[in-house]
């Protein structure tokens, strides 16, 4: 009697595992970044993608570094990231075979309304150099994320070594929103992606303590691309589905959807799949 | 060995360095009540555990009906049951406790009826007790439930370790009744121990005496522990008492040996002689029983209890100093 109960329990367990692990025939596994996912763009695009192609899009959002690692380990079928220098190296190293640029948004420098460093409207390189010479507080994420890597690039462009140990250079090691909060408290400057700034502004009732001080310029561009994994490295990756995704993202319909996407009522992305 | 249900052959059993049973050899007859007497720590409980096949011997063999058996052996599992010294009731109703042994055998016929019968055999009312849990029972009631759980199995061999220890008088009476009732059925073997020496002697057909892990030939009336001394003048050995007197013994073979004299060879009165030893002891208790022409006398000598039997007409008064004699040759070292 006990044995019978035990056996039925075991069978139920096995069945549960089987059901829980059942995979849809046409499902595409993607790795992307937390900031991409947090905009809500994917929640907006995925149903349309499935409607048009019959493929279910599943994605996990992690840091840029981890996304690339997942691609290396063939734990996903396709990548959507925004770190062009790293992507190009990735292809060179043989982990991906191609990349397709899909859309971009931008980074901005934000700071107190009063602009103590007096850098409003400048080019970003000049602005950072001015902040540096004026020893004005600058807050960095300092966490080696995609955003952080971009910021380091800007310092390089502004000239001089990375202000690692400078007293006015604050490294939080945290996410973008927390970093913005800290920046506002310190009355300093920081670099953020526009999407997070829109959210931050919204949270502060449309009148946040930090304003956009510097924007524009190619160097502040944040380019998003779809990466197709190298089938030599990952023979089991669903390349055909990945390519379908890439093609769809570049299609007129998707590009229009991207342009129409609003985050808290503000536009965020500019589609550029069919340029250069 | 014929008619012997159990035979122990050079059986030893050790716990943590000490030998509870030490090369013990004995046999137990079938269909009788065998009582096992002996001081605490003599190994009686261990013996009972081996006889009920709950633990195996470390050395030697335990034979049941001539065949060596061990714990969980199907040949003995349902035929022998032990009631331990402190019986343990499981965390379930009295009914479930009593019927457990039947469940184990998958014996499902008339369970409720049989539980009711077993409970009545120990004087417990089914309606009042069947649904109770162990925390709702007194010590005596719990002991009786435990006994009922064994009686319901109708075993061939019922082994009981101190069945009425730490139990109230009413429960003690009911338990003894139940044991006697069980024993009166033909073919039933009962083996038990009890601190109540008188009751044990009364209820047993056979007696086994146990001391330091072995059975001893017969009941000892005198058991003396060391240290022993040698008298300067005479050169003979004795156990010195408080007041210069002492009990003569022979030379001890080793410091831990115990001097023992069988009860039947101890006598009141008489004198020391070539072959007899004599000493004085104070009479503590005289016990006479119906139907017995002898009385049991308990004395204290050299600080140790002495028991002997003497004709009713010659019984001393408690408080008297009496002379006790025994043949020197009958003194054994254990």
């Amino acid at each position: 009697m006990m044995k019978k109960r035990f056996m039925t329990g075991l069978l139920a367990l096995v069945a549960a595992i089987a059901v829980a692990g059942s995979v849809h025939a046409k499902a595409l596994m993607m790795a992307t970044t937390t900031s991409t996912d947090n905009t809500g763009l994917l929640d907006y695009l995925a149903p349309e993608f499935t409607k048009d192609t019959g493929i279910e899009l599943k994605w996990t959002s992690v840091g840029t570094g981890k996304a690339l690692k997942l691609g290396m380990n063939c734990d996903v079928d396709v990548l959507l990231v925004h770190a062009p220098p790293a992507e190009k190296k990735y292809i060179k190293d043989g982990y991906a075979e191609s990349r397709k640029e899909i859309m971009f948004n931008d980074f901005v420098i934000v700071g107190p309304k009063a602009d103590p460093a007096g850098v409003k409207g400048m080019d970003v390189e000049k602005a950072l150099a001015t902040i540096r010479s004026g020893h004005k507080t600058f807050v960095s994420r300092g966490d080696n994320s995609g955003t952080n890597k971009k910021e380091k690039l800007l310092w390089k462009a502004a000239g001089g070594p990375l202000p690692e140990k400078e007293a006015w250079y604050v490294q939080t090691g945290q996410g973008m929103l927390s970093t913005l909060n800290i920046t506002a408290e310190r009355g300093g400057y920081t670099m953020t992606d526009r999407g997070t700034y829109i959210k931050y502004s919204h949270k502060n009732g449309g009148n946040p303590p930090l304003d956009v001080i510097v924007e524009g310029g190619v160097i502040l561009k944040n380019q998003y691309s779809v990466l197709i994994l190298n089938s030599g490295n990952c023979p089991k990756a669903k390349k055909d589905l990945a390519e379908a995704f890439s093609a769809w993202m570049a299609s007129d319909k998707a590009q229009e959807l991207i342009a129409k996407f609003r985050l808290l009522g503000k536009p965020l992305f500019i589609p550029n799949a069919n340029q250069g | 060995m014929d008619g012997a249900l159990y035979t122990l052959d050079q059986v030893s059993r050790c716990y943590d360095q000490s030998r509870a049973l030490d090369r013990c050899t004995l046999s137990i007859p079938k269909g009788r009540v065998t009582g096992i007497a002996g001081p605490n720590g003599s190994g009686k409980s261990t013996l009972l555990k081996l006889l009920s096949f709950i633990e195996p011997p470390d050395e030697g063999r335990v034979l049941f009906e001539g065949r060596e058996e061990r714990p969980f052996s199907p040949a003995v599992r349902y035929r022998v049951t032990l009631m331990p010294q402190t019986p343990f009731l499981m965390n379930r109703t009295v009914f479930k406790n009593v019927s457990y042994g039947l469940n184990v055998k998958k014996d499902r016929t008339d369970v409720a009826q049989r539980v009711s019968v077993a409970l009545s055999q120990v004087g417990l009312d089914f309606d009042k007790f069947a649904g109770r849990h162990r925390h709702e029972l007194s010590g005596g009631e719990a002991q009786r439930v435990a006994l009922a759980a064994r009686l319901i199995l109708d075993p061939e061999v019922l082994i009981l370790d101190e069945p009425t220890a730490s139990v109230d008088a009413a429960s003690s009476f009911l338990i003894r009744q139940a044991i006697l009732a069980f024993a009166s059925n033909p073919g039933k073997t009962v083996i038990l121990t009890s601190h109540d020496a008188a009751w044990l002697a009364d209820v047993s057909d056979e007696m086994l005496f146990f001391f330091r892990g072995k059975s001893v030939a017969e009941k000892m009336g005198l058991m003396l522990f060391g240290p022993f001394e040698r008298d300067h003048h005479t050169g003979s050995w004795l156990k010195r008492g408080e007041d210069d007197g002492g009990i003569p013994v022979s030379e001890p073979p080793d410091p831990d040996a115990v001097a023992a004299v069988p009860e039947r060879l101890l006598q009141l009165g008489g004198n020391a002689g070539d072959h007899h030893a004599a000493f004085d002891a104070e009479v503590r208790e005289v016990a006479r029983r119906k139907g017995h022409s002898n009385a049991q006398v308990t004395l204290i000598g050299a600080g140790f209890p002495i028991t002997l039997s003497c004709p009713v007409s010659q019984t001393p008064e408690p408080g008297d100093i009496a002379r006790v004699t025994y043949p020197l040759s009958s003194l054994q070292w254990l």
């Binding site: 380990n73 734990d75 | 199995l153």
Partner: protein, 227 residues
């Protein structure tokens, strides 16, 4: 601070409206927990039994090892399981990564020491008289094992509740090997992490309260059983 109050309102809204995303997170949490609890009980109870009931050489060492494993951080377990289940890893061929069974594997590793250690403790403190009684009433080895387990059933239930608490509230494993994929492997805890990361603290609080509500339901049903 007002996000906490906000969170209470949101929790009620989510529950009453039967928000599909929340429902999905709840069922994912429960599926993963059910699987991992099942596996850890099947392995852990007998293991704990052996560890607590018998005396043997090296018992103290074994117990120390099990107790140490109680301190395994969930992210560490997550990393280990990822290493095995990744396509690059030895069990990659099973294709379990980013699925509920993968989460369950990690959660089983988390729950096992809890069940084993607590079951062992329960059995260690068991009255020795039980064994004597059971054998004297004719139990064989299998019946001895089962009846002993039944005798300590409340202790084992307590062990299961403790393990369940750890399993339902962990994030490190679900995040690492589940991937927090919406509709598929998003558990309540990974959803909380996500919302908090997005700055949606009220949502985070709301989901946390939903989790507490589930825990309450589970514990109430268990206490009914105890009666």
């Amino acid at each position: 601070m007002d996000f906490i109050v906000d969170g209470f309102y949101r929790a009620l809204v989510l529950l009453i409206q039967g928000d599909p995303q929340t429902l999905s997170a709840v069922t994912t949490t429960l599926k993963a927990a059910f699987l991992s609890m099942g596996m850890s009980l099947v392995i852990g109870v007998p293991a704990g039994f052996c560890l607590g009931y018998y005396e043997f050489r090296g018992k103290k060492t074994a117990r120390t090892i099990v107790d140490t494993m109680l301190a395994l951080p969930t992210v560490f377990i997550g990393l280990l399981v990822y290493a095995f289940l990744s396509n690059r890893g030895p069990l990659g061929g099973l294709g379990l990564l980013f699925t509920i069974p993968a989460i369950s594997v990690g959660q089983t590793i988390l729950a096992l020491p809890v069940i084993t250690a607590l079951t062992a403790s329960t059995l260690d403190s068991l009255d020795k008289g039980l064994r004597l009684t059971l054998i004297s009433l004719g139990a064989d080895k299998r019946q001895l094992f089962l009846s002993t387990l039944w005798e300590v059933r409340y202790g084992i239930v307590a062990a299961a509740m403790t393990a369940m608490g750890r399993v339902m509230t962990e994030v490190g494993i679900s995040m690492m090997v589940g991937g927090n994929i919406k509709w598929h492997t998003r558990t309540i805890t990974t959803a909380i992490a996500l919302e908090t990361g997005k700055g949606m603290f009220a949502e985070g609080i709301a989901l946390g309260l939903v989790l507490l509500a589930i825990a309450l339901v589970v514990n109430v049903s268990v206490s009914v059983f105890r009666r």
